[in-house]
Amino acid sequence: MTCLPTSTQKKLGLVIDLDTCVGCHGCVTACKGWNTQNYGAPLSDIDAYGADPSGTFLNRVFSYEVQPEEGAAQTVHFPKSCLHCEDAPCVTVCPTGASYKRAEDGIVLVDEDRCIGCGLCAWSCAYGARELDQDAGVMKKCTLCVDRIYNENLPEEDRVPACVRTCPSGARHFGDLGDPNSDVSKLVEERGGFDLMPDQGNKPVNKYLPPRLKDRLDTPAMTPVTEKEPKGFLGWLDKALERI
C-alpha cells in the first residue's frame, strides 16, 4: 500500500475540449515522441511492423458515436490519458511505493526503479490510463510532462505538456485546477467542465469540456423580394441599385 498526500499545493492537470477536438492524434504522437526520449524507459513498439503491433502510448484518442434523442447521430473524439486523480487508487494499490502522487503539484508518477510490473495499478484504474511497457516491464503513464513543465532548458512558453503544445485546434489546456482563478479553472466554470465517471469517486483532476449542442440551426426562411414588387425581380433590382 502506498499513501496519497493529504493535500497537494497545486492540482496540475489538463482541460480537454470535446467541442474542438477533431481527432487528429497530434497529441498522441507528440506524447509518444517526447516520452520515448525522456522520463524513464522509452515507449516501446512490439511487433512494430507485424500482424499485431502493440506499443505503449500514454495518451490515446477514441472516437465514439452518439445518438441524440432527436436528429442525426454525432461523432465525438475523446482523448484520454491519466487524469491525475486526487483519490488515485492506482497509488494506494501499489505494493512497492512506485506509484505516487506528488504533494507539490498533484502529478501521479511511477518511480520505475521501484516498479515490479505487477499491473495492480492498471487494474485499479477506472479509466484504463496505464500501460505496462512490454519491453521495459515497467508501468508507463502520463507524467503531465513533468520533465517539460519545469524544464529550465526550454523556453518558458514551451513549459507545457507536449500534447498541449502540439494540439492544432487548441483543444487541450494545461494549468492549476486547484486555483479557482487560473485560466483552466475559469474555462471549466464557463463551459460546464465535467469529471469523467464521477461515480467512481476518484476525483480526477483533468476535466472535459462538453461538446456544444449541435444541429440547432433554425433561422427562418427569407421573404422573397418579388412579394412586394409588382415588376418582379428586375423591378426590385432597379430600385435596389438606386439605393447603392
Binding site: 498522441v28 515522441g33 520515448t36 513498439d45
Partner: protein, 941 residues
C-alpha cells in the same frame, strides 16, 4: 528508500544537443518543424512556433515523422530489375550505373522523338523544377498528380476568381463568423484548418459541415448536412436561388468587382452569341448607371448598371447578372425541387441560406483601413461579409465537379465575401486571373526543348493541344475535346493510354512519388497487368519504366530502374513562389528543406538525381556553354537558377547583401540565411493592401515589387466564364476548330459559362436501381500519404480499414461485427470487412483509402493487417465509364478538366457467406527489395 514525497526527479533534463529547423513532409501541408538532435541523430520533432503555416503546432503525422525517417522500408541504393516486372527482384547498382542506364534510354529518344518519354510526378513539391526538366527535354508529356486529386477545385477557382482554396487562399480565420466546409478536407491544409477551426470555436463562430460522412472536422461542426454525394452543386444552386429571391446579394460588390454588369450578346444568329459585347477598345462593355452609355468596364468612375438592357433591332442584350437571376431563380433550383435528390430538406436549405444572408449582411465587418482601388478611387473603410467557405476533393472528384466548384465560388461572390474581411482571402502569388496564366504547350522538335510550359489555362479552342488531324498531342489527352480545360493533366490516364498506344506509343515511363501500381490508380489490378503486359515479341508493351521513391512502395516492383530518394530530413527542397508556396493571406512566404542529417544509405534527393541526369543529357539550362554540369545538385540550382532575371526559386535573402525580397541576384549564402531564419522566409503585405487584392492598387504595386508579377494586373471576377462559351460556340458549329461529332453535344452541355448541375456520369451510365449505394474513400487525418501506413506509430492507430455502412444498410443486410461484405460496382467486386457507422448519409458507404497494402511491400510482415484485412476501393473504379449505347466509352473523369471522378462510384453489396480468410482480391506477395523490418522498436537516444 525515500518516501514518495521525498523522491527527487530531474525536472530540467537536457532536451537536445541542437535544434535544426526545416519543413515537414509528412503531408502536403508544409509546416515548420524543430528537429531535436542528440548525438547527431534525430531524437524528437515538434512544430516551429515562428512558422507562418503551423505557428508551433503539429498534427499526428508531423509528430510521427521520426518513424518515417527511420522506417525500415527506406530504399538503400539504386536498383536494376533482374526478375520479371512486378516480381520485386532487383540488384543494387551504383549511381553512376543508374544514371548511365537512364541517360542511355533517354538520350536517343530525345533525338528521335522526345514525346516518347512520359514524365509524371506525384505528390511532387518541386513542380516548377520537374516541369522545367521536362520542358528542356522536349516532351509534351509532363504533369503532376493534380488530375486525380483536385484540379476541378483549382481550375474552377482560377477561371472564376483567379485563385482557389488551400494554396491559393484561405478563410479569414480571425474574423469570419460563419464557416461552411464542403466535402473531404481533412487531408489538405492540415494544420491551418485545425488552427482556424480552433479560433472559430474559441469565439463562438458557427461551423456548417456539408459532407455525407460526419467524421473529423464534420464531427465538430455545429450543423451537419449529410448530403448525397455528387449533389453539392444542386444544393449550392438552391442556396443561390434563395439568396437571389430574397435580394440578399451584394449588388455593389458585384457591380464593382465582377463581370455581373457585362453585356452579353444575345443575338441568336450571331457567331458571337453569348460572348460579351465589346467596344472599339476590344474591352467588354457595361452600361453606365450614371449616364446610360455603353462604356469600357474598367473606365474610371463608371458604375455598371446590372439592370441594363440593350436593345438592338429585335434582340435585347442583357447583363450577366440578369442571366444569373434568370437561371437560378427558376423553379428547377427551388429548395423543394432539389430536396429529394440532395437528401437535404427544403426547410434546412432555406434556413442555411437565411443564416448565410443574416451573417453576411447583418453582421457586416467594417475596418477603419483606407485603401485605393485600381481605378484610383480612395476608400476610407474596408467592408467585410464574414462568411467563409472551404472545399477540396469531396466536391471536386466528381464528373460534375468543375461546375460544382464554380457554383461554390459564385455563391461566395454573390455574398460579396471574397477578398474582404471575414471572407475568403487569397494568398500570394494569387490572385491571378486565367489570362495571366500560361497557355498549354506541346510543340515538339527532336533534340530541342518544348516550345513553352506544358500546363496552362486555355481561353478558347485555339489553345487545345490537337494535331492537324484532331489527335491529342499529349499521351494523357489533356487539352482535347474530351477535357478541354485539363489544367493539371491526367496522370490517371497515362498508363492505360500508354498501354493502348492511344494516341501513340511511348518508350519510357518515368514517374516520381506516385504509387500507380496501387492506391494512386483506378482499376488497380488491371493497371498492374498493363505494366507487366508483353507484346507478341515478348517485349513489355510499355518498354521501359523508371521510378523514384524513398520507400519500398508497390510501384517499385513495376519499374526497371529505381532511383532511390531520401527521407524528408535528408534533403534539400524549396517550397517556392514559382510553384506551390507556403504564403499566407497576410504575406508572401517560402521555405526550404535541408539535410538535418546526411543519408546513411546510397540514396539521393530525386531533384539532385534529375539535375545530374539533365546534365548527362546535356539539356539546355542544365549545362554550361562548355557542356559541363551547371549545377552540382539541387541546392545549387535552388540558389543559382533564375527563372526571370532576378527571380529565382527562393524569394528571400536575394542579392549580394541578402536584403533582396522577391527580386535580386542570386545570393551564395541564401540557404544559410534560410537556415538561420528557421527554414523559411516571410514578407508581410502592407495593411492597406491586405484585402481586395485583385482591385487594390496597393497590393498590385507590392506584388510587382516582390516579383510576383511584372506589371500590375487588376481584373474582375468571372461569374460568367466567357472562354467556356467559346467552346460551346464551337460545339454549335462556329469556328474552324471543331469538336468531333460524338463529343459535340457533351461539350455543349457541360461547357456552360454559368454553373450548371448534371447528374454524375456514373448515375446515367449504370442502373442506379441495381447499384443504389454511393461509395467514398477518404484519408485518415493522421495518414495523409500512403506513407503513413508503414509508420510504426500511425499504423497502430489505423492498421486496417473497414467498409463503414449506415444503419439502414447495416440492418437491411443483417450484418454483425466481424462480417464481410461482397461489394460490387459495374466494374468489379471486392470482399471486405464491414463496420457500422450511424453518422452517415443513409445511402453512402465509405472506407479509409490506402490502408490496404500489397504483401511484401513497405517492409511490413506479410501477415500485417494492412495486407490481409486492409483493402482498396480502387478495384471497383475504372478509368473508363461502361460502354454507352453507341459502344463509346467515356473517361471516368470530369468532361471539362479531366479530373478523376473517384467519388461518382456506385455499388451494391451483400453479406459474404462464408466470409473469406482475408480481403479480396488478394494479390500474390512481392519480393521485398529492402528485406524484413525489425520485430520490436525501442529507440531512446
Amino acid at each position: 528508500m525515500p518516501k514518495p514525497e521525498n523522491l527527487q526527479i530531474d525536472t530540467s533534463p537536457s532536451v537536445s544537443d541542437e535544434v535544426r529547423k526545416t519543413t515537414c513532409y509528412m503531408c502536403a501541408c508544409r509546416c515548420g518543424i524543430n528537429v531535436h538532435m542528440k548525438d547527431g541523430q534525430v531524437a524528437y520533432i515538434e512544430g516551429n512556433r515562428d512558422h507562418p503555416v503551423n505557428k508551433g503546432v503539429l498534427c499526428g503525422k508531423g509528430s510521427s515523422g521520426i518513424m518515417q525517417h527511420y522506417a525500415p522500408s527506406r530504399l538503400r541504393a539504386p536498383l536494376k530489375r533482374v526478375g520479371e516486372r512486378g516480381s520485386g527482384k532487383f540488384e543494387e547498382i551504383s549511381w553512376d550505373e543508374a544514371l548511365e542506364i537512364a541517360a542511355g534510354w533517354l538520350a536517343p529518344l530525345r533525338e528521335e522523338d522526345p514525346s516518347k518519354l512520359a514524365f509524371f510526378t506525384g505528390r511532387d513539391q518541386s513542380q516548377s523544377f520537374t516541369s522545367w526538366f521536362a520542358q528542356a527535354y522536349g516532351t509534351p508529356n509532363y504533369a503532376a498528380h493534380g488530375g486525380f486529386c483536385s484540379v476541378n477545385m483549382a481550375a474552377a477557382g482560377i477561371y472564376t476568381m483567379g485563385g482557389a482554396f488551400w494554396e491559393f487562399g484561405q478563410p479569414d480565420w480571425d474574423r469570419t463568423k460563419l464557416f461552411m466546409l464542403f466535402g473531404v478536407a481533412e487531408d489538405h491544409d492540415s494544420n491551418p484548418i485545425k488552427i482556424g477551426l480552433g479560433k472559430l470555436k474559441e469565439r463562438g463562430a458557427k461551423v456548417i459541415g456539408v459532407n455525407p460522412i460526419r467524421s473529423g472536422y464534420n464531427a465538430i461542426a455545429d450543423e451537419w448536412v449529410g448530403i448525397t454525394p455528387g449533389t453539392d452543386g444542386l444544393f449550392i444552386m438552391a442556396l443561390m436561388h434563395e439568396l437571389l429571391r430574397a435580394g440578399k446579394v451584394d449588388l455593389a460588390y458585384l457591380a464593382r468587382y465582377t463581370n455581373a454588369g457585362f453585356i452579353v450578346d444575345e443575338d441568336p444568329n450571331s457567331p458571337e452569341k453569348g460572348l460579351f459585347i465589346r467596344g472599339a477598345s476590344g474591352k467588354p462593355q457595361v452600361v453606365s448607371r450614371e449616364n446610360g452609355e455603353l462604356m469600357d468596364y474598367d473606365c474610371p468612375g463608371v458604375t455598371p448598371n446590372l439592370a441594363a438592357q440593350m436593345v438592338e433591332g429585335s434582340v435585347t442584350h442583357r447583363t450577366v447578372f440578369q442571366l444569373i437571376a434568370e437561371r437560378y431563380l427558376s423553379d428547377e433550383y427551388a429548395p423543394e425541387a432539389v430536396a429529394e435528390r440532395t437528401g437535404v430538406s427544403a426547410d434546412k436549405i432555406k434556413s442555411i441560406a437565411a443564416e448565410l444572408a443574416r451573417v453576411a449582411f447583418e453582421e457586416e465587418i467594417v475596418l477603419d483601413q483606407p485603401w485605393t482601388d485600381w481605378k484610383g478611387q480612395k476608400h476610407d473603410k474596408m467592408i467585410g461579409r464574414p462568411v467563409a467557405f472551404h472545399a477540396m476533393r469531396g466536391i471536386s472528384a466528381h464528373s460534375n465537379g468543375f461546375q460544382t466548384c464554380r457554383a461554390l465560388h459564385m455563391l461566395q461572390i454573390l455574398l460579396g465575401s471574397v477578398e474582404v474581411p471575414g471572407g475568403f482571402r487569397f494568398k500570394p502569388p494569387y490572385p491571378r486571373p486565367p489570362e495571366a496564366h500560361p497557355k498549354p504547350h506541346a510543340g515538339v522538335t527532336p533534340g530541342q526543348p518544348l516550345d513553352g510550359p506544358h500546363l496552362g489555362y486555355p481561353l478558347g479552342p485555339e489553345h487545345l493541344l490537337l494535331d492537324d488531324d484532331g489527335n491529342a498531342k499529349r499521351i494523357d489527352k489533356a487539352f482535347t475535346w474530351e477535357n478541354p480545360l485539363s489544367a493539371h493533366g491526367l496522370m490517371h490516364m497515362v498508363i492505360s493510354n500508354a498501354h493502348a498506344g492511344d494516341p501513340y506509343k511511348i518508350d519510357t515511363l518515368f514517374m516520381y512519388m506516385a504509387n500507380m501500381a496501387w492506391n494512386s490508380t483506378m482499376n488497380t489490378t488491371e493497371v498492374m497487368r498493363m505494366l507487366t503486359d508483353k507484346d507478341d515479341n515478348g517485349d513489355y508493351v510499355i518498354p521501359r519504366i523508371i521510378y523514384s521513391d524513398a520507400y519500398s512502395s508497390e510501384m517499385v516492383a513495376y519499374a526497371d530502374l529505381i532511383l532511390p530518394d531520401t527521407t524528408y530530413l535528408e534533403r534539400h527542397d524549396c517550397i517556392s513562389l514559382l510553384d506551390r508556396p507556403i504564403c499566407e493571406a497576410d504575406g508572401a512566404a517560402d521555405a526550404i528543406r535541408w539535410p538535418v542529417v546526411e543519408p546513411d544509405r546510397d540514396v539521393r534527393g530525386f531533384q539532385t538525381a534529375l539535375i545530374q541526369l539533365g546534365a548527362k543529357l546535356g539539356l539546355p539550362g542544365f549545362v554550361t556553354e562548355d557542356g559541363s554540369a551547371k549545377f552540382e545538385d539541387y541546392a545549387d540550382y535552388i540558389v543559382n537558377h533564375e527563372r526571370r532575371p532576378g527571380v529565382g526559386p527562393l524569394a528571400g535573402f536575394r542579392g549580394k547583401d541578402g536584403e533582396g525580397r522577391g527580386r535580386g541576384e542570386p545570393n551564395p549564402d541564401q540557404i544559410d540565411r534560410y537556415i538561420e531564419n528557421g527554414g523559411f522566409w516571410v514578407d508581410h503585405i502592407p495593411e492597406d493592401a491586405a484585402f481586395y487584392k485583385p482591385w487594390n492598387k496597393g497590393y498590385q504595386e507590392w506584388a510587382v515589387k516582390r516579383g510576383i508579377f511584372d506589371a500590375e494586373a487588376p481584373y474582375v471576377f468571372n461569374l460568367y466564364v466567357e472562354p467556356m462559351r467559346k467552346f460551346q460556340l464551337a460545339a454549335e458549329g462556329h469556328g474552324d476548330i471543331q469538336p468531333p461529332d460524338h463529343l459535340r453535344e457533351r461539350v455543349h452541355q457541360t461547357m456552360d459559362p454559368l454553373p450548371i448541375w448534371y447528374e454524375p456520369f456514373e448515375d446515367s451510365n449504370v442502373d442506379v436501381e441495381e447499384y443504389p449505394i454511393h461509395a467514398l474513400t477518404q484519408r485518415p487525418m493522421h495518414m495523409y500519404h500512403s506513407w503513413g501506413t508503414q509508420n510504426a506509430w500511425l499504423r497502430q492507430i489505423t492498421g486496417k480499414n473497414s467498409l463503414y455502412l449506415p444503419t439502414k444498410i447495416w440492418e437491411a443486410n443483417g450484418f454483425s461485427e466481424g462480417d464481410y461484405a461482397e461489394v460490387s460496382s459495374v466494374h468489379g467486386t471486392i470482399t471486405v470487412p464491414v463496420a457500422h457507422h450511424a453518422a452517415l448519409n443513409e445511402n453512402t458507404i465509405w472506407t479509409w483509402n490506402a490502408i490496404g497494402k500489397r504483401k511484401g511491400t513497405w517492409a511490413l510482415d506479410e501477415d500485417a493487417p494492412e495486407a490481409t484485412e486492409g483493402f482498396l476501393l480502387n478495384h471497383l473504379i475504372h478509368e473508363l465509364q461502361p460502354p454507352k449505347g453507341d459502344g463509346m466509352r467515356w473517361a471516368n473523369s470530369d468532361p471539362i478538366t479531366g479530373q478523376a471522378a473517384w467519388f461518382d462510384l456506385r455499388v451494391k453489396l451483400k453479406k459474404a457467406d462464408p466470409k473469406p480468410a482475408e480481403s479480396q482480391p488478394a494479390h500474390a506477395p512481392i519480393t521485398s527489395p529492402v528485406g524484413k523490418a525489425p520485430r520490436n522498436v525501442t529507440r531512446k537516444i
